[in-house]
């Protein structure tokens, strides 16, 4: 195996998520010899892609698995609204424009789709859902890549890049206890962000980062991002920008994935460790606000919060993976959380007094709201008064970071002097910051990964075959 690796290849792909697989498949289909290095064991392959479940794809007409048309123009508007138009609009246009071809590309490579999942029907028009979720998608792409002849290595961690005068020569790979040098004509770096690198998070966020939970596997340490930056790649984005959602504080430190989310914030009230409310829980529909709440919790003392609901609303949201903390009174629940009991009781009473009568409807922005309360709750405000009462503890759950390397429209990494690298390409979360400096719309991460993964793979293949021809002459 060592010899196979050290013999080198045309295109080296570093990473094992959807972007890396898209690049590897595209390069192989252009005729290049491809090695893909996944740093995780086979069981945890796929990076954050294994936690995904859908892609946001433009389509001018309705067809399966979508419930309606989603024109490119509308997707573009959604993108601009979510990011404030602060991203690289040229690259963003490529993402939105390229999205319409992805469904067929994925299906060709064995990925199966289904109508939107229960509880997410509002995304059935705009997003295509993987049958079985992201891991099933990753499995299919790995199978397709290997069938095409891509050589895949697991537990293969890249620890160094030999880059001279803007040109990639080889990668140093830790595999089976040894370090192997793998030369290649071109490299595609699709190794994700640095969300699992606790030291780096602490550097960016300060001690608060110690209380973050990481929703993905512990392999996304940003080693490749760091290596590229050290070799003079231009950075994009802000290291503190990240996709962060409030998740159950009892979740594991890593890899809790989708099930740890809690969808009951809009149905109750949220207090911090001092028993105080701090933000309008009913500002907008939950899918529009959950990414804001991750940051809000991160900004509270000790990065923790508690959502309180009563028995009226317990069955009105997706079931939670951890059972709620239950009590006959608010005080009992507060005590179980070790919160200042009197303060919490007072906060709930104050909230209850401010609730105006209205007609509750969780599917619209209804007229149930508070009056004379700061902060107010603008919709779905129901008195919390029917025992038993329930509470869930919340922590910020980090999905991915936005900080990355700058690329051009060929997915080539750009150096600080403004010139693109000769044979270094980047795809996926490591470059998503070009398009998403802040904000997020559900299901666009994989689109960025696939569009730029395929571009990167094709460019790398063309380049390596050109180099081969030159060598033959």
């Amino acid at each position: 195996m060592d010899q196979e690796l050290s013999a080198g290849t045309d295109v080296l792909v570093i990473g094992g998520g959807a972007a890396a697989l898209s690049a590897a498949i595209a390069a192989r289909e252009k005729g290049a010899r491809v090695i893909l290095l996944e740093c995780s064991p086979k069981h945890f392959r796929g990076g954050n892609s294994r936690h995904t479940r859908n892609m946001r794809l433009a389509h001018e007409t309705q067809f399966a698995p979508y419930t309606g048309a989603y024109p490119e123009a509308e997707m573009w508007e959604n993108y601009l609204k979510a990011t404030g138009g602060e991203g690289d609009l040229e690259l963003a246009k490529m993402v939105v424009g390229g999205s319409s071809s992805i469904l067929a590309w994925m299906q060709t490579h064995g990925v199966r789709f289904q109508p939107a999942l229960a509880g997410t029907l509002h995304l059935g028009r705009t997003n295509a859902w993987f049958l079985g979720g992201g891991k099933a998608m990753v499995n299919a792409l790995f199978r397709s890549a290997e069938r095409l002849g891509v050589q895949v290595r697991y537990d293969a961690e890249v620890v160094g890049l030999d880059v001279r005068a803007g040109r990639f020569r080889s990668a140093a790979v830790r595999i089976e206890g040894k370090t192997v040098c793998v030369p290649a004509q071109a490299v595609v770096v699709a190794a994700g962000g640095f969300q699992s690198n606790l030291a780096w998070l602490r550097q960016a966020w300060g001690p608060a980062a110690d209380n973050f939970l990481i929703r993905g596997a512990p392999f996304d340490t940003g080693t490749l991002l760091k290596l590229l930056l050290d070799h003079g790649a231009e950075s994009v984005g802000d290291p503190t920008q990240a996709h962060m959602v409030p998740i159950d504080a009892r979740s594991p430190k890593f890899d809790g994935g989708i099930v740890t989310r809690l969808d009951c914030v809009t149905l109750g009230i949220v207090v911090n460790k001092n028993g105080e409310r701090y933000y309008d829980e009913g500002e907008d529909f939950w899918p529009m606000r959950y990414a804001i709440w991750g940051r809000l919790v991160a900004q509270q003392p000790d990065q923790i919060s508690y959502v309180f609901i009563d028995s009226k609303t317990l069955d009105r949201f997706m079931p939670s993976v951890f059972p709620p903390v239950e009590g006959r009174t608010i005080a009992e629940v507060a005590e179980k959380f070790n919160l200042p009991v009197d303060k919490v009781v007072a906060t709930v009473e104050e909230f209850n007094r401010a609730v105006r009568p209205g007609t509750f409807d969780h599917t619209i922005q209804d007229d149930c709201r508070t009056e004379g309360l700061t902060p107010s709750k603008s919709h779905w405000a129901l008195r919390i008064d029917e025992p038993p009462f329930y509470g869930y503890p919340l922590r910020p759950g980090l999905t991915f970071t936005y900080y990355g390397v700058k690329i051009d429209r060929n997915a080539a990494v750009i150096f600080k002097d403004g010139r693109p690298a000769a044979n270094i390409f980047a795809a996926g979360e490591i470059m998503a910051g070009n398009i998403l400096p802040k904000g997020y719309i559900g299901g666009i991460g994989l689109v960025i990964g696939n569009v730029f993964g395929r571009i990167a793979g094709e460019q790398a293949a063309v380049l390596s075959r050109g180099a081969e021809r030159k060598a033959a002459v």
Binding site: H43, P115, G257, I258
Partner: protein, 368 residues
Amino acid sequence: MDKELLAQGENLMRICNSCRYCEGFCAVWRAMEYRREFPAGDLNYLANLCHDCQECYYACQYAPPHEWDINPPLTFARMRTRSYEQYAWPAPLAAAFRSNGAVAALVTALACVLFQFGVVIFQGISALSTPVPGGDFYQVASHGALVTVFGLAALFSLAALAVGFVRFCRDIGETPFDLFSPSNLKVTLAETLRLDYLDNAGWGCSYPGEESSSLRRWLHHLTFYGFLLCFAATSVAAVYAYVFGWPAPYDYLSLPVVLGTLGGIGLLVGPAGLLILKRRRNREITDAGQIGMDTAFLALLLLASATGLLLLVARETYAMGTLLVVHLGVVMGLFLTFPYGKFVHGIYRFAAIAKFALERKRKQVLGA
């Protein structure tokens, strides 16, 4: 069901119900979404609704070695076997599910020996090795004796299966009348006879390995319809004998023989194929305690068919007597272990599919 397994099942369903990535696969996931609590009866229902297609295992981000160790096919398989024991009648015979391979082998061997004794005592030892013109096996084992012995065995098995079925219905909170009302029966039969939940919209299932394949579904079809054809052959033969007074044996081209031969071929190819797939299956998803039960049932079906077909082609030779004894012993072993082996999966899964059809209808009524 023991407490530990029950807790494991509840934990599984709580995690799965807050994920739901698998809901596109099979009926289990949609049935799960109808609930927020998972008492024992509901877990038994879901476990028996699971067709063991294993797609969800490969799609699961929480599958081992993830610390949550989510393994629906394995957990459901264990719960299914426990549920078989729970419904078994008479209760002491539930133990037969535990070391099912040995039990089935012993019962079959014993049946062979007893048939042999019977033939020797009533017809003399020469009956075992004397060719009979026309292959008339009633000269080796009399018609009356066979009808009596197999009739009693069949009645006992039917009674045991019926009690198990009623117990299952009670456990999952349904009455047989609701489950099998004409309209619900129609839906249930269609989904069962097509094996919809091993089909996954044409992709098949992740069996024996990760890649989806329709092979298992087709082999199950061969087995199931082979079994039905053999049953039909016996029924037609009974009509021939009792209604028309045409005694066996029948010509090679007669309806009972043609039906039986076709069914026999299905029961050769189907179980053989399933046994081969079983050997290749992923051990991470295999309930080791159940391998004996699965193998015993398939092996008995295969043997019943093989001995039956051999008997047919060798019925005019000196080997007929011995082949008949072995064939009768195997079929008797199959009959007697029907209520205490893998056969019961068909009964409980059919009822579970019926309940799922009923639940969908109730949801629609509520939604309208």
